[in-house]
Symmetry: C2
Subunit: 339 residues, 2 copies
């Protein structure tokens, strides 16, 4: 403990500069014999470079700040885990913050990250607070938005094809013979879920379902919200036969509400979710859902940061990754008792 570069230099009978050169493989060459001595001294002393000192001097901390709404939510948990793994594989550590969808907290984390001299930022948010955006716009390090982006950012953006997914889910349900598909959405049409709802609307329009017959039920983005929202739909005079839940959380709550009402999925009501979180493979019945490529998004985000560090001054650009239909029982594709 407490072994410094100077200790290594002393033992290897050379200067701290040379020790630094061998540790970092540069920027100057080192004679093979000298390098050998240094390596040996490092091993003998069990020397490990102090990343804080390195960060101060070289202005590269090797850490990425990751802002997420709430990693207790399965979708953000998967995304967060994937981002952390991708960062580690790229030799970076992540410092994470859960904003809890709170703008003040979001801003507080952003400042804390920046004060800690993170080298880059990955921002996952369902909605952006103006203040957080200001902090980001003037940040001295590259940022990439994942899952959702503010209107005209200059930063790189990695999105899932939410609109396409909404259309895919809805169309799939219509293809099962349903004449209409209701949607379980969030409190408003902002963010990624807004795009999913837009895709739903587009699919209905394409199939000629008139405006006034497009049923939308709103709630918070939680299982409890989906539960309450579906319940309302069930009490609706014209109970829908098919429902598109704009997130898996909503879908899981909806599944529960249907069972509670003594009805069956997919026989009485067919259901499709969105996100492709792991638990959907094991709900009863298993949930058909739109798979969001969380791992790919994570890798893209880290790659975007890498590009920015590499000096490509326009790291920006919007990447929209394809989603996929994961066919399981809740839509009517499989017998409800099989997985």
């Amino acid at each position: 403990m407490g072994v410094t570069l100077a200790d290594v230099a002393r033992r290897a009978q050379t200067s701290t500069a040379v020790v630094s050169y061998v540790i970092n493989n540069g920027p100057r060459p080192v004679a093979a014999a000298t390098r050998e001595r240094v390596l040996q001294a490092i091993a003998e002393l069990g020397y490990r470079p102090d990343r804080v000192a390195r960060a101060l001097r070289a202005k590269r901390s090797g850490v990425i700040g990751v802002l997420l709404p709430d990693t207790a939510n399965p979708f953000f948990a998967s995304l967060g885990q994937a981002i952390e793994a991708a960062a580690f594989d790229a030799g970076r550590l992540v410092v994470v913050g859960n904003s809890g969808f709170d703008p003040d907290r979001e801003e507080a984390y952003l400042h804390a990250f920046l004060d800690s001299r993170v080298e880059g930022l990955v921002v996952v948010s369902a909605r952006h607070s103006p203040r957080a955006l200001d902090a980001l716009a003037s940040a001295p390090v590259p940022a990439v938005y994942v899952h959702h982006a503010p209107p005209d950012t200059l930063s790189a953006v990695v999105l899932a094809d939410n609109d396409g997914g909404g259309r895919l889910a809805t169309t799939h349900l219509l293809d099962h013979g349903h004449e209409n598909v209701a949607v379980l959405a969030g409190p408003d049409d902002a963010g990624p879920v807004g795009a999913r709802v837009a895709g739903w609307r587009r699919a209905l329009a394409e199939r000629g379902v008139p405006e006034h017959r497009r049923v939308r039920s709103r709630s918070a983005f939680t299982r409890a919200g989906g539960h309450a929202s579906m319940r309302r739909l069930l009490e609706h005079k014209a109970r829908p036969t098919a429902v598109f839940a704009a997130t898996d959380e909503l879908a899981v709550g909806a599944l529960h509400a249907v069972a509670e009402a003594g009805l069956r999925v997919p026989d009485d009501i067919a259901l499709v979710g969105f996100d492709g979180v792991p638990e959907t493979a094991f709900t009863n019945p298993s949930l058909t859902t739109i798979g969001v490529p969380a791992e790919r998004m994570a890798r893209s985000a880290i790659a975007g940061l890498d590009r920015a560090w590499q000096g490509h001054e326009r790291p920006g650009g919007e990447e929209i990754l394809p989603v996929s239909l994961i066919q399981r029982a809740s839509c009517g594709c499989e017998s409800p008792t099989s997985r």
Copy 2:
């Protein structure tokens, strides 16, 4: 951007020492008028202290390293989120690492954390690799083990009452009139789940269920594992009427297997899980489970670190937090269609 302490000092017409004193409220007093000038200069320049420089000089980085097995798992996700929140409330940032249950990776993160001069460590692991333990034992900063601890560590330890919970779950099922309770466990009896299984064994012993009638099915700690494991139990000649799943993940998989077999929970098979993850409130039927106080554990962990920093040289001690029975439908307590 790039405003330093020296800039502030210049503008406030004082020394960097004084600026530091006002920022940190000490360790020397500052005249009110001077303080005012400094505060004003800070505001005018938009100065923000560089935490990296501070960390190097003061040897306090303000960041905590958090090692977790896998935050894509709902239980660890909840725990991780709670730890992050508790740390932030205590003015600390967390750097997190997912070991993926891999000892090499666990060790790599620990070293990376230490190299980054974290001020403390929170280690959540279902099993400890010898190398990780070595790294921890010689770490120059306090660590606290959460969820599971190595045999005779000197560090603080925060556990849930796993043994008591296993007994509680099993007893509850027996109280419902079942004569025996099978257990869905992990690949071996190590770690927290080992204690849960021990509690199950103890409960059965207390009620006189003989050794040879105690059925245990093993699998990986995943939903798929629980699914396969329960499937095996269903094919068993003496199919159990009650099952204790040692984690909620196993329970969710088991629930799915029972539905798939065309049987009903709790009528044909009663089931109790363990962990109290959020999704269990919305499974079909809803899952009775043993609630683990993740938030309380998180706060205890941060408090343990605080105690160590405060200089209480023996931060150690084992804290065992009580678990609770969350009664829902799967055990037979509620009608299966209600929540």
